[in-house]
């Protein structure tokens, strides 16, 4: 999953980005509204964490402009707690709202919910034939209750395909959602991950549709 974090306080941005990367997300960052809206419009993120108080273009404006084009799930972060602000946020099109200071675990959990809902699925567990279970809350995959050892990237790949099961997901899309701007774009990195997952779970777990992409049935 790839997320965008827009926050002007550098130390806070660094901490959140690091925590999310370590949780397996690909994370892009922006320190002001202009940069934020540019990136949000350019790439399809699975979720956007948006601070309300930004220099230049503020969070509200970024959200409004984004909503003209995309329905990317947005979680707003703010230091203001007034009920009016919450309502405004939700009415303007935010999907969730967290006030600072927030608990990091709560942030991560809410992002997970956002992404699940964004993909149209509310369940936290996805079951795929042959007893394979993807637990999105724990970010693990298991077969017959035995957990499968996947790296963060491998899990992200599996999760994404599982959330779009039955659909063919193009390589480009997978690249966009698994790697962030900080990664070198090595085009066969994706194939390496797919191959590793097949080794660990099963040859037919991920199906290849030549010229189109990958899918999980």
């Amino acid at each position: 999953m790839r997320v965008l974090v827009v926050e002007d306080e550098p130390d806070l941005l660094a901490a959140v980005a690091k925590a999310m990367r370590e949780a397996g997300y690909a994370v892009d960052t922006a320190e002001d509204g202009e940069e934020g809206i540019y990136k949000a419009e350019t790439w399809d993120y699975d979720a956007i964490l948006l601070d309300v108080m930004l220099p230049g273009l503020d969070g509200w404006e970024v959200l409004e402009r984004l909503r003209e084009k995309k329905g990317t799930p947005v979680l707003m972060l703010t230091a203001r707690d007034a009920v009016g602000d919450r309502v405004r946020g939700l009415d303007t099109g935010a999907d969730d709202y967290l006030t600072k200071p927030f608990d990091l675990d709560e942030l991560l959990a809410r992002v997970r919910v956002l992404i699940r809902r964004g993909a149209g699925k509310a369940a936290a567990r996805i079951e795929i034939g042959e007893g394979v279970v993807i637990d999105q809350a724990a970010r693990t995959a298991s077969r017959d209750d035995e957990s499968i050892d996947l790296t963060a990237r491998e899990y992200s790949l599996v999760e994404y395909l599982a959330m779009h099961r039955g659909e063919v997901v193009s390589r480009t899309t997978l690249y966009e959602h698994l790697f962030d701007e900080n990664d070198d774009s090595l085009s066969n990195l994706l194939d390496v991950h797919v191959s590793n997952v097949r080794k660990k779970i099963g040859k037919d777990f991920i199906l290849t549709r030549r010229g189109l992409g990958y899918m999980i049935e």
Partner: protein
Amino acid sequence: MSGFFKSIRWRLQLWHGVLLVLVLAGYGWTSYRAAMRHRMASIDRELQRHSAVLIKTLPPWFPRNSPSNEPSSEESMELRIRPSAPLLRLFEESDSYFLLVAFLSEKSYRSPGCPEDLPIPEPFKKAAHFRFETRGEFREFAQPGGRGYRVLVGRNIGDDLAEMRRFAWILCGAGGGVLLVGLTGGWWLATRAIRPVRTIGETAKRIADGKLEERIDLADTDSELGELAGVLNETFDGLHDSLARQVRFTADASHELRTPVSVVLAQTQTALKRERSGDESRDTIEACQRASERMRHLVESLLTLAQLDSGEEEVVRETVEVERTARETVELMQPLAVEKGVKLVTALESSVRCEGDPERLAQVVTNLLSNAILHTAPGGEVRVSVTREEAAAVLVVEDTGEGIAEADLEQIFDRFYRADRSRGSANGGSGLGLAITKAIVESHGGSIEVASVPGEGTTFTVRLIATPDPVQPR
């Protein structure tokens, strides 16, 4: 009982009642006495008159050539008396009047109406003496009649006394009636007068219980109580505003703290999620330190403001050389200016003094200077000048920086106001610097103004009360 006396209405009533009773009693008593005296006086006059006439018209009792000095028998006494004045008939026939004539020999003539126990009057020493006496129901007047005999004229005043007693009762009754009416009227008046006080009390209680928007509503706003209500309402308005300001201030302050706190929280929670290398930990700690510095700065600013607000700060009043304070501050700011590529220029007049707290005034200069430097692009200039204009010590800080938009100019001295909404969070500013500066200047009895052209620069002008030059001895 003490509760009884606490009520103003009852106390008013009590005093009113006591006063009324005293006045009525005094008036009644005086009336009674006056009436009594008047009546007695007229009765006395009458008795005296009768007596005088009697003495004149009665025959002398001692014929010139009688050997003894008195009549020989009672018969002859009567004979002598009878042919005299018709006045005698009054005494003969009257129920109320009576007459006693007493002779030297202790013989006496009594009219039919004489009371049985009427004593014979004592002899008089002088011819002009007379005596009035009241015995029970009889008023008696005795007078010497010449040659040793005495005439006593009296009257039964029983009826008069009864009438006076009736009068006394009427007075009491009337007085009681007046007292009742007075007390009732007084009670009614007191209730009416007290009612606005109760309204004030009830409204005040509601306000104290938390309904801060209520105000006292009295129909009559010109009376003393109306004025009181007006003053109280103004006080409540002031308190309400003051409370609202405090609430806003507290909200703003806690809001400001949220950002550094969230940095510390996020950094530490992330760091603790797994094993960290020394370098990673160091980064985390440094980020926490930066946030803590911001919090400290904020806390100090808030404390300063609170002190200035409450006026609790110990007032330091020394003679401050404004020029020296400005110069020292400029020197302190030099490194920052160099770092930002901004040139510092000074035009400082000496012998400009004012009374105040040197540290606080230094804070003012520091704050204005650092703002100017930070808002001016490299290559720009900041000019500090200190001059004397009549009775004012004037400090001017102008820069060639980015300027302040007109819309922001009005609010720039407000607490927590930052012209660029989030600038402070990265730069460490909290929006309190100018608010503190203004508070310090005003606590010194001075004023501060700002003028700015966006894109060209900003000028802050501080006016303080200059200390007059010491008088030079000639």
